[in-house]
């Protein structure tokens, strides 16, 4: 078992979320509230949380708290986006995870509105779907063309066969075996 006593700033960082909110409000009070100095907070912290801190630890802690709050906000937005995307059965687990990660890492306007990002993901998906449909339509066109050529050939074959039949009927003595073999060869070639 380790006997190392946790560092004061580690103790502060691991305080419950509610305590972190209170400590934030000490420095960023709501309208009309009093902003406490770091010295005053240094006195309050041991009394409220049983942790003795130096001014420099407290200074580092507030830097940490500011960054943490910003990242928590991004995390909440990204999680919200993931929840929204999860409602769409066409979006896979991997796509949801990737979109959440992208939003988490995005800068600027996207920080503030996950809806914009959600729309972007959906637009991206719609574009992919359109391209897939276009490809499918092209394939269908190709199949129809092939089918039409096949029908055409069959019709030509049938017409030729009729022609040969008629010619044979009009001829005295019918068709010889050699002529029949030649006709069959021609039909196969068609």
């Amino acid at each position: 078992m380790s006997t190392t006593d946790p560092r004061a700033d580690a103790k502060l960082q691991n305080l419950p979320e509610e305590a972190l909110q209170d400590l934030w409000r000490f420095r960023h009070p709501e309208e009309g509230g009093e902003k406490l100095t770091l010295e005053a907070i240094c006195v309050e912290v041991p009394r409220l949380y049983g942790v003795t801190v130096s001014l420099s630890s407290l200074h580092s802690f507030y830097r940490w708290l500011e960054v943490k709050r910003r990242l928590d906000q991004r995390q909440d937005l990204a999680n919200q986006l993931k929840l929204d995307l999860a409602k769409d059965p066409e979006v896979s687990e991997a796509q949801i995870r990737a979109a959440g990660q992208r939003l988490f890492m995005a800068e600027g306007i996207l920080d503030k509105d996950s809806k914009v990002f959600f729309d972007m993901v959906k637009i991206g998906q719609a574009e992919t779907k359109l391209k897939q449909n276009e490809r499918r339509l092209k394939q269908t066109d190709q199949s129809l063309e092939n089918e039409s050529r096949r029908v055409n050939l069959l019709e030509q074959k049938a017409a030729f066969a009729d022609e040969v039949k008629k010619a044979a009927e009009n001829r005295i003595g019918g068709v010889t075996a050699e002529e029949m073999a030649e006709i069959e060869r021609k039909l196969k070639l068609m």
Binding site: A10, Q13, W64, D72, R74, A98, Q101, M105
Partner: protein, 82 residues
């Protein structure tokens, strides 16, 4: 900046929103904000790689950006508590 502090700051950065990966650029930005700025990128890489060797952090390749995203591990979270 002392090496031990920089190593700790790397873990601190990754311990925020731990479910999401962070790129090298993002870690650099966060660590600069935590320390007041001026962190050398090579020093940061050394501190990050030390944490990686000690299994306090792990990485995953991001297919879209083709860069590594870094995450804190359970050991790393435990280390941050002391």
């Amino acid at each position: 900046m002392p090496v031990a502090i920089l190593r700790r700051k790397v873990r601190e950065a990754l311990n925020m929103a731990p479910g999401f990966g962070k790129s090298e650029g993002m870690i650099h930005q966060i660590v600069n904000q935590l320390t007041g700025g001026g962190v050398d990128l090579q020093d940061l890489r050394d501190a990050r790689d030390w944490n990686h060797q000690e299994l306090y952090i792990r990485r995953e390749k991001d297919k879209d950006s083709d860069e590594y995203l870094w995450y804190i591990t359970e050991q790393g979270i435990a280390k941050q508590k002391i």
